[in-house]
């Protein structure tokens, strides 16, 4: 198999493996055919020339977490936001794929709003399981972030011809199960997609991966297949998730899946680490495994390019 980059990761390997460190990975999807262009630290000029718009993804900021794996999650979130703001391709808006807070405490949400607000960007949130563990079972999150949403916080919006869908899969979790969308949300999704042209590019974002990354750790969503079935007829579907604090990507048919890094701490590699808990990095290495993602939509080609940028090049 052809080697696509000097690190010796072949194309299949790069698509299926988790990326731990190193510089950004540029990944484009054109006509449903994904291609790793190169491993790089900055967006190449040709990607920018055809840019329709770019949006940023941040995830898993876990404000309130202060342990040896990262004693200052406020500072790393601020650094991530500064990186988003400083990007050459100014993002049109930002999405946050959940676990804003560590323990759903008002003070943690307040701090997040202050730091994320410093970007002056519109931010579209979906909750992580850490955001809905207040006494009132998610009220703190929904009161603050769910004003224009349906049900337990899901919604859709359009931006320059791209249809964005924020899904919520952290409520009503079942014993022995993984993430959960639920019948009400799936019915809403079916209705939302009804009548949409199959050529409309779709971006779906949710906290827990919408495909099974690793069942033993609950890294998947029990009823995600029902959502993916509804998305099958569309020519360009990009699914963006968080939760697992590492980059993982794969392509199935016209659907490209991608998880973002955390801005707080890395988690272990499935099957290798003893558990899904925070991973302690060697001195000076933490920022090589934290970061942000930037997604560029090239209009006319239905191509999305995802660039993951660590806070510090490894």
């Amino acid at each position: 198999m052809a080697k696509d980059n000097e690190n010796g990761v072949d194309r299949r390997g790069a698509l299926e493996c988790m990326v731990w460190a190193g510089t950004g990975l540029l990944w484009t999807v054109a006509g449903g055919v994904p291609k790793v262009q190169q491993i790089l630290g900055t967006t190449p000029a040709n990607a920018q020339a055809a840019t329709g718009f770019t949006f940023a993804q941040i995830s898993d900021s876990h404000l309130g977490f202060a342990r040896p794996e990262n004693p200052d999650t406020n500072a790393t979130l601020q650094e991530a936001i500064d990186r988003v703001v400083a990007a050459k391709d100014k993002p049109a808006f930002m999405i946050h794929t959940g676990d804003i807070s560590h323990l759903s405490k008002p003070a943690q949400f307040d701090t997040a709003d202050k730091i994320i607000g410093s970007s002056k960007l519109d931010v579209h949130y979906v909750p992580g399981e850490h955001d809905v563990i207040d006494e009132d079972n998610g009220k703190a999150y929904l009161d603050r972030y769910g004003k224009n949403s349906k049900g337990k916080g899901w919604y859709a919006f359009d931006h320059q011809g791209v249809h964005f869908i924020g899904l919520v899969n952290v409520f009503d979790l079942k014993a022995g199960g993984m993430g959960n969308l639920g019948a009400e949300q799936l019915a809403w999704l079916a209705d939302d997609l009804k009548g949409k042209s199959a050529s409309a590019p779709i971006v779906v974002f949710a906290h827990i991966p919408l495909w099974t990354v690793y069942q033993d750790w609950g890294w998947g969503t029990d009823d995600s297949m029902q959502a993916l079935d509804l998305l099958k007829r569309f020519g360009s579907v990009t699914v963006l998730n968080g939760h697992i604090h590492q980059i993982f990507q794969k392509v199935e048919g016209n659907v490209a899946f991608h998880t973002a890094r955390s801005t707080a701490f890395p988690q272990g590699e499935p099957g290798k680490a003893p558990s899904a808990g925070p991973m302690l990095m060697p001195e000076g290495k933490l920022k090589t495994v934290l970061g942000v993602a930037s997604v560029t939509v090239k209009q006319g080609t239905h191509a999305l390019a995802i660039v993951d940028t660590p806070l510090l090049a490894g």
């Binding site: 342990r67 794996e69 759903s104 558990s275 899904a276």
Partner: protein, 115 residues
Amino acid sequence: MLSAFQRALAARTIPLVFALAFPCLAVPAAAEEIHVKIDNFVFVPDTVTIKPGDTVTWENVDDIPHSLVSKTPGAFRSHPLDTNDTFSFVFATAGAFDYFCGLHPHMQGKVIVAP
């Protein structure tokens, strides 16, 4: 108004009267406290067998919060346990209580309460 002396007398007398009235009551075995550790996303031990009236105390030693939710709705539910937090629950009635972590539902455990 009772005088201080009368109040003291009443306080001393009531337990005495109670003991005299029920002289045959067996002294129940002292309720025990059973510990379950939450370590590496696992309840250790994952199954405990206790007697009615015993207390189970969970302690989270992970670097990430966990919570306890009974599979039977409403039987018991903890607040989120951050690192080193504990939660105790007295199981008054016999039965088998399956539970899971509210944040990581693949984590499961069971409390068997048998007389």
